[in-house]
Structure formats: C-alpha cells, structure tokens
C-alpha cells in the first residue's frame, strides 16, 4: 500500500520537477514535494503508523526518492541559473570598435624626440647636457672660437645681428666655451639647441634650425678616440653599424679639422641622388679642439686637449623620416606634426 503511494509520488514529482518550464515552477514543485510541509514530509509523518520492519523498508525507499528528487532539482536549478546568466551576458553585447571617449595623446615634435634620444645616449656615456643662450655675444659666437672679425670664415655663416650688437648664435659651438668656463677640465658635454642663419627659406634652407654640439676635454685625447665616439654615436643614431670616412675639413675652432662622411644609407655606397652619386653623405664636422679655443675657455692647452663635433639635428630628422621640405619643421602644421 505505502509502496504504491511512494511510487506514484515519485513518478509525479519527477515529472513536475523535470518538466518545470522555468525557475519559478521548479521552485514551487520543490516546495510541493521537498518543502517542510511538502508531500515527502507528510508521508514521513504517516510512516510512524507502520511496523518497525515496514518502517525500515519504507524509510529507505523514501530516502532514495528524496535524494533522487533533490539531485534532479539541483540539476535543473543550475541549468536555469546558467541559462539566465547566458541570456544576461548575451544582452550585454558591446561594440568595441567604437573609439574611446576623450582625447587621444598628442605627439612630440620630431626634433624634441631626437634631442631626448641623443641626450640619453650621451648621458649614458658620461656626457653632461648643457644649454647656452640663443642670443650670444659676438665674442662667444666668434672670437672665442678662433674666428676674429677679419676671418673669412665669418662670411660662411650668414649672421643675424641685433641692434644692441649681440648676435643670434650661428652654431651651438659657443656652448663649448661656456661649458669650459663653467666646468673646467676634464669635460664631456653635449649642447643641443636652436641656431640661426640669415638665409632665405626654401625647401632645403631654413634660417632657424637645430644642432647638437659635442665636446670632450681630457688628457691625451686623440683622433682615434674621436673616431671611436663618432662611430658609437652614429651606430646609436642609425641603429646599425655605419661605414665612415674622415677627411680634412676647415673650421677655425678645431685643428686638425675634419668632415666625417657616412656611407650613403640609401644606396649603400654605389651612388644615388641623395649622395649626389658619391656614395657618401657629409654628416658630422669635427676635430681636435684648437688650443686658442681651450684658452678662451680658461683651460691650459699644454695640459689638456680634446675633440669637438657638431651634428645637424634638423638634417638628421629629415634623413630619418624622409622629410622632403625643411619648412614643415617650423610650420606648426598639425597634419605634419601629428605624424610623429
């Protein structure tokens, strides 16, 4: 008799729990059969009336049913929860191709970037980064660098003169003298900065451009040492070994003076339009510091000597990025500036 009741109950409960269409129906089915006042609980109470033997068998049977139903319930409940989560997640679909809100970062001027890069490089080699004024005294810009007013080399540097007698520095070389005055020997400095030449502006000429001056003063500095630094510098700039050649070049503030050419990176030395078919590109005027310049900076040339070089930063930036018109650099045109 009780066995029949239990079997019917089990069949009915399995059917209701198994076919509940949603979480709410499942829950009410659970309450109906497994709740504190549910069917199983009532049957359990009624079992008190049975004989101990009958009660043991029915109790076992009842527990088995209860376990089966609970497991079924848990299983279906988890399925409903997963389905609900899946539905929520599906509804939360986002279009991540939409650009982010707010402004994107701007960019730094290519000249600032290359200055920073070279400053870091030279700092790592023990050089100090030094500044000098853009408006210079005639003495610092010329005389102290062994270029007296009667020297023809002054013609080569079309100078902007100010009405008060000062000049806009025509090169970063006066910083050599200022650095010697400030630090004395030994000395390793670079001085990047803006320089000026009184020149008509066109695609390849600017009256305002950037140079990087470099100088090392120590005991017994040789041409070989200079070559070593120049090669290290160029390898860092171009991220590869470059072939260089050193030839005589005249600059009054160095003796001997050199032009350092690099083998053309475009044609590899076989000749092209960039190198004017020569296979070489003039890049780095340099030399051993003239004793008169050391004296101008208050350094005894019998005790100390050194090398100096000048790097055209504007030229370097143009080479690196293939910029065909120098005027873009001072144009403030965001179509140009935002490319870097």
């Amino acid at each position: 008799m009780i066995e029949t009741t239990l079997s019917d109950l089990e069949a009915r409960a399995v059917s209701l729990l198994g076919q509940a269409p949603d979480a709410a129906a499942l829950e009410s089915a659970r309450v109906e059969f497994l709740g504190r006042k549910g069917s199983l609980a009532s049957i359990s109470k009624e079992m008190a009336k049975l004989t101990p033997a009958e009660r043991a068998a029915a109790g076992k049977r009842l527990n088995a049913i209860k376990e089966r139903l609970e497991s079924l319930y848990e299983q279906r409940k988890a399925a409903f929860a997963r389905a609900a989560l899946d539905a929520r997640l599906a509804a939360e679909w986002l279009d991540l191709t939409i650009p982010p809100p707010g402004v994107l970062p701007g960019s730094l001027h290519p000249l600032s970037q290359i200055q920073k890069e070279l400053e870091d490089l030279f700092t790592s080699m023990g050089f100090a980064v030094v500044d000098g004024p853009e408006v210079e005294t005639e003495w610092h810009n010329f005389d102290a660098l062994n270029i007296p007013s009667t020297h023809p080399a002054r013609d080569a540097q079309d100078t902007f003169w100010l009405t008060d007698g000062h000049v806009l520095r025509t090169h970063t070389s006066p910083v050599q003298v200022r650095a010697m005055e400030k630090f004395g020997a030994p000395l390793r400095i670079i001085a990047p900065g803006r320089v000026f030449r009184n020149e008509e502006v066109d695609a390849s000429h600017e009256h305002t451009f950037y140079q990087l001056e470099g100088m090392m003063v120590d005991r017994d500095v040789s041409i070989g040492h200079m070559l070593y630094f120049m090669r290290t510098l160029l390898a860092a700039i171009f991220h590869r070994e470059v072939t260089v050649r050193l030839r005589p070049g005249f600059f009054p503030f160095v003796e001997p003076g050199f032009e350092l050419d690099i083998q053309c990176l475009i044609c590899g030395g076989s000749g092209c339009a960039v190198c004017k078919q020569s296979g070489w590109v003039e890049l780095l005027p340099c030399g051993l510091v003239h004793p008169n310049v050391l004296r101008s900076g208050g350094i005894d040339p019998d005790e100390w000597n050194g090398f100096a070089f000048g790097l055209g930063l504007t030229r370097l930036v143009m080479m690196r990025y293939g910029i065909d018109d120098i005027r873009h650099l001072q144009s403030g045109d965001l179509r140009f500036l935002s490319q870097f």
Binding site: G102, G224, H225, L288
Partner: protein, 779 residues
C-alpha cells in the same frame, strides 16, 4: 675654385691619374671637391681646315665654302655665315655627327646647298666669348687637332674649404699638393731670370706698411693690345675666367696659376712716375673699372698717382688708367695687401673680386716677384716686340720670419692615435716643402714655407693636420679613451622640460615649434610695444624683425593656420621668451610652455581642460581672477598660482583675434616653476578610524567664486574637517535667475576615534552658521 686638370698636368708632368680619382684624392687629403666638369670634350673631334674657295649665296649673308679638312675628311662643302670666311683662312672644322655644346652638327641643306659639317666660332667651341666670326688660326695642318687646344676636365673645389689655404687659390698650390700626395715631381713654371737685373723705371711710395707690406711692379713698352692666343683664352675659360685682351688675360692667368693677383695700368694714363700706396681721404671718390663710383673711407687703401686714386688696392683697378686698344706702355702691379684690410674694404663696399677673394686669405708677400717673372715670360711669348723698361720696382717691409715650430714625434703619435715613424713624418713634411731638422732625438724643428706662414700654419697642431691628412685618416684605428669616468652634471631643468612635454602629449596636446621672430605689426596686434623687444639689425624681411617676448604670436599663428584643416585641436610649444636687459647685457631668455585648445563649437570646457593640464604639472594649483590683458577675453582670464607664486595664466583668446572659433590658452613660466621645485613628499600614517561625510548645497550669486565658498566652508567646519570637495553646480528653477547653487562634500574625522553622529552634526551646524554669517543659505 676651378682647377683645370690640363693645367695641373703641366705642373705635375707625370700625372696620369684619371680626373675622378684625382678628385677623390684631393677630397680625402686636401679640400672638398664638388665635382668634375668636362670642358669642350668635342675638341677631340674638331680639326684644322683651310678655306679654299668661297662663293656668296644670293639673297643671304651666307657663303658656300670649299674647304680642305685634311687626309681623313678631304674636301668638304660647308655653308658659313661668318663675315671672316675667306679663301686661305685656317680655321676650325666640326665634322657632321659631332656634338658641340649639346647640339649635334648634322648634314644639312642650308640655303639650298648641302652643308657637310660646320666651321665654328670660338664661342661655339666654348674656348672664348668671340662670336664675331669663325676661329682664325695662326698655324696648323688641315686635319690635325687645333694647335694648343684639347678637351679638359675641370675639378671644382668648394671655396669654403679653401678659406685657410691662400696657396690653393692658384693651380700651382694645388699641383704641389698633388705632388705631395702622389710622390710625383712638381715643375715650377716661374723662371726668375725673366726679370732683367736693372734699376726700376718707376717709383713706389708705400705710406701704410700695415695695409701694404709689399709693392712690386714692372714697366713694359712696345705693348700691342689684342686678343690672346686661343690656348690662353681656353685656359682662362676652363678656370672660369673671362678672356678680355692679352695683357689682362696674362694678369688673370698668373692669378689663376700662382694665386698672385696682378693689375696692369696704362702707363700713358698715369700722372707722374711714382705709385703712391696710401689710405683714402675720407669721402674721396673713386671710379672703378666696373663702371661704378665709390665713396671711400679713411680705412680703405688706394693706389694713387700724383693726381689721385688709380686703383682700390687689392680689390679693383680704376676706370681711367685701364688697358685699352691704344695702350702701348703698361705698369704691371704685383703687390701684397693685408688680409683684414681687404676683407673690411670689400665687405664695406660690397665689392668682392677675384683679387679681393685671394688677398683676404692672406697671400704670401714672397710671391709678388714670382708673379711678375711669370707674367714677363708670358707677355714676351704672346706679344712680339714687347720690352721691359729697366728692372724690378719693389718696396718691401718684410715681417720677421716665423719661428720654427718644435714638433715632438711622441706628441704626434699621441694626438694622431696611431704609430708613425720619424722618417715618414719628415718625408711628408718635406714633400709639402716644410724645412725639417732634428733638434734632438724624437724632436723636429719645422720651418714653414712662406706660402703657408701668413696665417695658415703657426703651431704644432697645424703640422699634425699636415701629417694626418697625407698619411690618411683612414689609417687611424678608432679606440676607446682610457680615461677615468666622472659622473656627469645632470641638467635637471632640461629633463624637467622633457617631462612637461610628455605630460602635455599625454593630455592630448601636440608639440609645435615656432620661429623666435615676430613683426612690429604682430607685436602691436597683441598690445605689446615693439620698443620693448630686441630688434634684428639685418632681418630677412620686416615681418621677422623682433625677437619674441611671448610665445603667443607663434601659437596664434598655429591656431589660425590649423583652423583651415581642423575643427578642433590641441597644441603646445616650449620655447624661450627673449626679454631685453639694459647695460649691454645679454637678454633674459625665459623658457615658457604655451598650450592651446581650439575648437569651432567650443564652450568654456576648454579652459577647464587647460586647468587640468595645469593641475597635472602643479598639483593643487589655483586660478584666480586677474585683470584681462588686451589679447584676453575680458571675462575669461585667470592668473595661476602655486605654492605662493604666480606662474602663468589661463585665458580665452579675445574674439577679435580668432574668428568663428574659441581658443583657450595656458601660459606657464617654466623657469619659475622649475626653480620653485616640487615640495618634498612626506608619508602620513593611514587613518585608523572611519570618516564621515555630508553634502551642503549653497545658494549664491552667479559671480560668487566656487573657491571662495569652498574656503568659507572649510573655515566654518573647523577642526574635524578633512576635506571640502566641490561636486557640481545648478542654475534654474526654483532658484532665482541671478542665483546658483553649488554643492560640496565635506569629509570629517578625528585621528583618535570615530566621531559620533552628534559631533558630525555639530560640524555641519557650524558650517551652516558660517555661511549664514556671510549671507549664504542652503538649498
């Protein structure tokens, strides 16, 4: 400077190096070459021809000429338009198929007659400027090459790289270099025996021995002025000089060969028989050869006769004593002038000549007589019957000979960075004609030749260059210096500028770079006084005459330009403001940051975005109202303060300065900010007890400042107040039209316990009372 390789081969006779290789050697060892140019290559195919018969062609100026062009070409018929085409004439024949000056001569029908080749003028051949008629040869075999004329290769050397080398302004100097580089023999073209040993037929009176240390001259008679022989004209053309007449051409030839400028006076037009070398009288007038009249100053040197200046010493000759076709007697000047004086004169008068260019490099006084000897020989060769009157005229105030330079071999090795034998050093210096003596083992005493001693070589460092370049810098191995390393001085200000740049870029600003120049007009437009700016004495144009005292004109320019391509953008610049200082001191260069946000549809938000950038650089900085400047929106400008200092401004550009858009600007004094520094950071223990917070919404007039109310709240809240944070503002109903409500969050707490709700309420009450005392109520 152009160097004819034919000419160089005359001076280094066994030179057989091809021109391009020669150019490479000169570049690597001596001076930078710009290229090789072929001079009249067609001369290899042009030959001598004799005109046999001519026949006028009716209705034209042309003649039909039958010529004998030698065994290869035989007799040819050509049509010729030259007036001097006549039977018997020996001239130049260009066969058909040969290109001359880029034009191919073709078999052609001219005036109905088949013309097989062309008879050419000097101009057509490129050997002189004569286009009056076809070439007239004095001698030559039909079919043979034109006598004395051959194709040439011209090496062009960068003048800038010759600034320090007076001797390289002539072919002989370059030939000496080539001889030293190649080890070949040098031939000196000068024969001093060309000058007779006799007393001078003229007098020289140098009155300024500083400006003119030497004046030498020769007098010639029986001169006949006519065109030079073609070989001489062609040489000058190859060297880039214009042939004029035999006498003038010889002076130019000697200049191009020996770097010694000469000048020929028509002796018949000189007054008296004394050359006076003196300073010009102030305001003295001088008519030059070039047709110009110059007003001279007392620092200019003139060559004068008894009646006045006849030349501007070392620069240009005078018009009145110039050589002409009627000249029969000449005074040939070969002098030496002080480089600095020539440079000054030539730049003051804006007159650069081939002579002044050479003298300003400091020429060798020894060279004057060599120049005369070479000229005398050439004149005798090309002007039959010419005679020297008397002998050398010469006045010379020689400078003391330069001291020999002591050169320790060990020093050379140390500076060069490679080993080199004493014999090698000696051989190199001697090949360049330095005198080399061993003073003691390992130490040379070096005597500098006169042509290198004027300025070029004075110290042992100069000799190092001579040795280094000839031995070849490519033989020096790069080597790391073995010097103690010193920690470099750190340029913190520059690092700071790079950090500011990064910060600006991170906030969306792109870096611009503007000129340091502005115009008077631009200054006035922003309300700056042009007089307060440094002024360029020689600006490229009037709109670049002043040095900027503010980055604003440049940034404004960027704004206007970029509005053509963008509706909204952000940019910034870091650059120097240049402020004049009195007393001849250099100006004060103050680095500034200027950042701008520009937008066509922009409202006030841009100003707060700039305030965010300011806060990134100066955490906690404050913007306070300040009187607007002429270029600022009068109701939208503020001064920025941080740590008690005024460091910059935030403002909107006055609408007069930008149309149909708004531009917000942030200007910051980076030097002042850098000097102020960042306050040292100090750790505060984390709070152990929870804090409480309450909001207050204050109703206030529209122009009551947010910061003022915030300060009032903080003050009123008193001791437990930890922070007062502005949340938002509201305008509109139910508030009156002239009122706003500002909401703040006040956070309170104690260090040693949790505040009770009564204590928090007490703070709130105090706050409200303080606001009420100022007439402010809560919403």
């Amino acid at each position: 400077m152009k160097f004819s390789t034919n000419w160089l081969r005359d001076l280094v006779p066994s030179l057989a190096i091809p021109p391009r290789e020669l150019m490479r050697l000169i570049t690597m060892k001596t001076a930078e070459c710009e290229g090789v140019e072929e001079f009249a290559p067609w001369l290899a195919q042009v030959c001598v021809a004799r005109v046999l018969e001519t026949e006028a062609i009716e209705g034209t100026h042309n003649v039909k000429a039958l010529i004998d062009a030698g065994p290869t070409f035989g007799r040819k018929t050509v049509v010729c338009g030259a007036p001097n085409c006549r039977p018997g004439l020996l001239t130049a024949y260009v066969p058909a198929g040969v290109s001359v000056s880029g034009k191919e001569v073709k078999l052609a029908r001219i005036s109905g007659i088949e013309s097989d080749g062309m008879l050419a003028s000097g101009e057509e051949l490129g050997i002189n400027r004569d286009q009056e008629g076809i070439v007239e040869l004095a001698a030559g075999e039909p079919g043979a090459p034109l006598p004395g004329l051959s194709p040439d290769s011209v090496i062009e050397v960068d003048n800038k790289s010759l600034n320090h080398r007076p001797d390289l302004w002539g072919h002989f100097g370059m030939a000496r270099e080539i001889a030293a580089i190649t080890g070949l023999d040098l031939r000196d073209p000068v024969d001093m025996a060309s000058i007779p040993k006799a007393g001078g037929a003229w007098h020289v009176d140098i009155r300024d021995r500083e400006l003119c240390p030497r004046y030498s001259a020769l007098v010639f008679e029986n001169v006949k002025v006519e065109p030079s022989p073609l070989w001489l004209q062609a040489r000058l053309e190859a060297a880039g000089l214009k042939p004029i007449s035999n006498v003038v051409d010889v002076t130019n030839f000697v200049m191009a060969e020996l770097a010694q400028p000469l000048h020929a006076f028509d002796a018949g037009k000189l007054h008296g028989d004394t050359i006076i070398v003196r300073r010009a009288a102030e305001g003295e007038s001088f008519d030059a050869l070039n047709g110009e009249t110059y007003t001279l100053a007392a620092n200019h040197l003139v060559i004068a006769d008894s009646s006045g200046p006849v030349a501007l010493g070392g620069v240009i000759g005078g018009a009145h004593s110039a050589i002409s076709e009627s000249t029969t007697r000449i005074v040939l000047e070969s002098a030496n002038f002080q480089a600095a004086g020539i440079r000054k004169t030539s730049s003051q008068l804006r007159l650069r000549t081939d002579a002044s260019m050479r003298f300003e490099k400091a020429q060798d006084p020894v060279n004057t007589v060599r120049g005369l000897a070479r000229a005398a020989e050439l004149l005798a060769r090309i002007i039959p019957g010419i005679r020297i009157v008397g002998g050398l005229v010469d006045q010379w105030f020689p400078a003391p000979p330069p001291e020999p330079i002591e050169l320790p071999l060990e020093w050379v090795v140390r500076k060069l960075g490679r080993s080199i034998e004493a014999e090698h050093v000696q051989a190199i210096l001697e090949s360049l004609e330095f005198g080399v003596k061993l003073r003691k083992p390992g130490v040379f005493m070096v005597t500098v030749p006169s042509w290198r001693a004027t300025k070029d070589i004075t110290i042992k460092d100069d000799l190092l260059e001579e040795i280094g370049r000839i031995v070849g810098y490519d033989t020096v191995p790069p080597s790391a210096p073995l010097q103690p390393v010193h920690r470099p001085w750190i340029n913190r200000e520059r690092i700071f500028h790079h950090e500011v740049r990064q910060m600006c870029a991170a906030q969306g600003f792109t870096e611009s770079s503007n000129y340091s120049f502005i115009s008077d007009e631009m200054a006035l437009r922003f309300g700056f006084s042009p007089e307060e700016h440094l002024r360029v004495a020689n600006p490229i144009s009037v709109d670049q005459a002043l040095m900027r005292r503010s980055l604003l004109p440049g940034i404004h320019h960027n704004i206007i330009d970029n509005l053509r391509n963008y509706d909204s953008f952000r940019l910034f610049e870091i650059g120097n403001e240049i402020h004049p200082r009195s007393g001849g001191a250099l100006p004060d260069e103050i680095p500034h940051l200027m950042a701008a946000i520009c937008s066509r549809d922009g409202g006030a938000a841009a100003l707060y975005e700039l305030k965010r950038l300011a806060a990134c650089l100066m955490p906690g900085c404050e913007a306070w109202p300040a009187g607007a400047r002429p270029y600022e929106h009068p109701a939208r400008s503020a001064e920025l303060r941080w740590r008690g200092a005024s460091l910059g401004r935030i403002f909107e550009l006055h609408p007069d300065l930008v149309e149909n858009a708004r531009a917000a600007i942030f200007d910051l004094d980076l030097r002042a900010l850098f000097e102020l520094g960042v306050p040292p950071k100090k750790y505060t223990p984390l709070r152990r007890y929870p804090t409480s917070a309450f909001d207050v919404s204050v109703v206030a007039g529209l122009r009551v400042l947010c910061a003022d109310i915030g300060a009032l709240i903080r003050q009123g809240a008193g001791e437990y107040c930890l922070s007062v944070e502005y949340l938002y503002s509201y305008k509109g109903k139910p508030l009156a039209h002239d009122q706003q409500s500002l909401t703040y969050r006040v956070t309170v707490g104690a260090n040693d316990r949790t505040l009770t709700s009564d204590e928090v309420q007490a703070v709130r009450d105090r706050t409200i009372a303080a606001l009420a005392a100022q007439g402010l109520s809560l919403r």
